[in-house]
């Protein structure tokens, strides 16, 4: 960068643009929705799991394993967010209230704390993270299979087969 000793790489330009666009995108969605929310307390509550997700991402950096395997922490938090978003999406579709109190991030933060404070060795920490990830995946798959089963039964739908009908060609 002219006038400074700062070296700006192409990746940094992408990172700067990407983060600004992403933050703007998220903030607009959140602010517009919050303004429209009739129950502001509930609106704030629904944001808590999102904040907890970022806390999980940040806390991951304190793990003994983070410098060796940062990718697995992103995958772990990403799949947790997938489960969370699935529940939120289902609540919106079914017109139900979103129960925004989640204890899973607290469990995760506790694991990271014990890992960071070296109350457990690396192997035990790996088992804990793998266990957390496994439980998250299992709950997500159970949630989805349960939803698919209920909706297909109730609406008489086929999941992976087309119903025999005349085709409508789209212009």
């Amino acid at each position: 960068m002219p006038g400074t000793e700062l070296e700006v790489k192409f990746g940094d330009i992408f990172l700067g643009f990407g983060s600004l666009a992403g933050i703007h995108y998220n903030l607009e969605n959140i602010i517009v929705s919050f303004i429209q929310a009739k129950d502001k307390g509930y609106g704030l509550g629904c944001m808590l799991p999102y904040v907890q997700f970022f806390a999980m991402m940040y806390a991951s950096s304190f793990s003994q394993l983070h410098s060796d395997y940062p990718i697995y922490f992103i995958v772990l938090c990403g799949f947790y967010l997938t489960w969370l978003t699935a529940i939120f999406n289902l609540n919106s579709t079914s017109g139900a209230r979103f129960d925004w109190i989640f204890f899973e991030p607290a469990v995760y933060l506790l694991i990271v704390y014990f890992d960071h404070a070296k109350f457990m060795d690396r192997n035990t920490a790996i088992y804990c993270y793998v266990g957390f990830f496994g439980v998250t995946i299992l709950r997500y798959l159970m949630l989805m299979s349960n939803i698919v089963r209920q909706i297909t039964t109730n609406m008489n739908l086929r999941f992976l087969l087309v119903k025999p009908t005349n085709l409508k060609k789209q212009e």
Binding site: G18, Y50, Y58, V75, T85, L90, S92, A96, K163
Partner: protein, 188 residues
């Protein structure tokens, strides 16, 4: 609704009555992608292919890309061979195409249902995680948590904010100004 997905009778009725409302397309989608997506949906997809099966197919390459990067670059510090970047690019393109044409296939075969919408949005979030991993690897972010957190809203977690908006406005708003997921994916 419970966390295990047990729905009440009323909630099932609400799902049955649910009508998906979304925002308009961006200029890039209208003039560049839409003709291509329509061509694929109308001329390349077999009639027996269920839209939900198509949606699930969209996950194949992003997951393959995720597994490859997990194996080859778990530290986000390696310079990966070109075929890995090609796979990452192709998985983005594949996902984007499938995501766009599964709805068209549903309308064409008269198989539209709220289940398709639920499945589609769920798999979106899995794909965003795969893209996040690819982006961190491309940028060689290592264990730099600040940079990882900076790109998270744009790449991985935007879907939650979209769901948040959908929950309170009943409109699935993915486009803001002239920028939407298509532009974002093109950039990535």
């Amino acid at each position: 609704m419970s966390r295990s997905g047990d729905l009440t009778k009323q909630e099932l009725e609400n799902i049955k009555a649910f009508r998906y409302k979304t925002c308009g397309l961006t200029p890039l989608e209208i003039y560049v992608y839409e003709p291509y997506w329509n061509f694929l949906a109308n001329h390349c997809l077999p009639d027996w292919l269920a839209p939900n099966a198509l949606t699930l197919l969209g996950l194949v390459f992003p997951l393959a890309s995720l597994i490859v990067i997990c194996v080859l670059d778990p530290t986000f510090t390696q310079t990966l061979p070109c075929w890995v970047w090609f796979l990452a690019w192709f998985s983005d393109f594949w996902y984007q195409t499938i995501d766009a044409i599964d709805g068209k296939q549903a309308r064409r075969t008269d198989n539209c249902s709220p289940l398709g919408q639920i499945l589609d949005h769920n798999l979106d979030q899995i794909t965003f995680t795969c893209m996040m991993v690819a982006t961190c690897s491309v940028l060689c972010l290592g264990d730099d948590i600040v940079r990882v957190l900076l790109i998270t809203p744009g790449v991985m977690s935007a879907h939650y904010s979209i769901e948040y908006r959908t929950h309170f406005t009943a409109i699935h708003q993915t486009v803001i100004g002239f920028i939407g997921p298509t532009e974002q994916l093109l950039l990535v």
